[in-house]
């Protein structure tokens, strides 16, 4: 029951954010829709959501955003430089990297973070191995290099989810 209720509250907040109208008609319509969505999602696994509401996890989640943003901006200048360079200085390949994260949500966010950051794109996850396409594989120790950039994200995600 609490699961349906929290999904209802979440849907209602999104509805209000999207419509930004506070007259009775739209609020009632929103409540009906939010109720229908919350009811149809009653079997969805949301076990990790209550964990996220713990204060110290929220703080780490908020701290993660600027860190990720910094990497994203660096990634963009890196890719933009390679695209605009007349000789196209790329050295692509797919490398593997191991993760120590256990929680599925943390792994999803890790894969998404990898995709958004410098020259790396998550291709697949098999067990605890991530396969990552890199636009420029360094000549020396490619696996250690990838592991290093994953460790930064893992540190944050472990504090948020585990």
């Amino acid at each position: 029951m609490s699961k349906i209720l929290s999904a209802f509250v979440f849907c209602m907040l999104v509805w209000i954010a999207v419509t930004w109208a506070f007259d009775t008609t739209s609020l009632v319509l929103g409540a009906v829709l939010a109720g229908a969505i919350a009811f149809s999602l009653r079997n969805l696994e949301l076990d990790e959501v209550p964990l996220l509401l713990m204060p110290q996890r929220l703080v780490w989640a908020l701290a993660y955003i600027p860190v990720l943003l910094l990497y994203v901006i660096r990634a963009n200048f890196d890719v933009a430089w390679r695209v605009l360079h007349p000789r196209l200085p790329i050295r692509p390949g797919i490398v593997r990297a191991k993760t120590t994260l256990k929680s599925p949500s943390a792994r999803v966010l890790l894969a998404n973070s990898i995709t958004l950051t410098p020259g790396t794109l998550s291709v697949d996850v098999l067990d605890d191995v991530f396969y990552i396409h890199r636009i420029h594989v360094p000549e020396a120790a490619p696996e250690a290099d990838m592991q290093r950039s994953m460790d930064t994200f893992e540190g944050f995600l472990r504090r948020i989810f585990e």
Binding site: V14, A17, V18, T19, W20, A21, V72, I73, A75, N76, V79, A80, V83, L84, L88, I90, R91, P92, G93, I94, V95, R96, V108, A111, N112, S113, T115, L116, G119, L121, S122, V123, D124, L126, V129, Y131, H133, I135, V137, P142
Partner: protein
């Protein structure tokens, strides 16, 4: 003419212009880079940040009203879905047998998948 009125509006337009610049580089990357995987790199990075910056510009320009909150929601959805979509396309392309660019240096995914096939009964 555009009315730059308040300094805040000017900031908003600068942010939107930066977003456009990244979008253009992303599109250029789609044309210039050699294979589907490298093109996805341009598509996920430059185009995601470019679009996010344009939406951020909208948020700055219009504030937390009907428009600004929608922009904020779109920011969140794009930031979450764009890398996921890129991953799905890259994985599907690899499984469908699309080769990496001829000068690619390594493909450990293909190595491991070939290895597991031999083990499987």
């Amino acid at each position: 003419m555009i009315d730059f009125g308040e300094p805040l509006h000017l900031i908003a337009y600068v942010v939107m212009a930066a977003g456009l610049a990244f979008d253009i580089v992303g599109c250029l990357g789609l044309v210039r880079l050699p294979d589907v995987y490298n093109r996805l790199q341009a598509g996920t990075k430059c185009v995601t940040l470019g679009t996010l910056l344009i939406l951020l510009g909208v948020l700055i320009r219009f504030g937390f009203g009907a428009m600004g909150v929608k922009a904020l929601l779109c920011l969140w959805f794009i930031a979450m879905t764009s890398p996921t979509a890129a991953h799905a396309i890259a994985r599907a392309a690899h499984r469908a047998g699309f080769p990496l660019w001829k000068d690619s240096v390594v493909d450990q995914y293909a190595e491991d998948r070939a290895g597991s096939k031999e083990v499987a009964p």
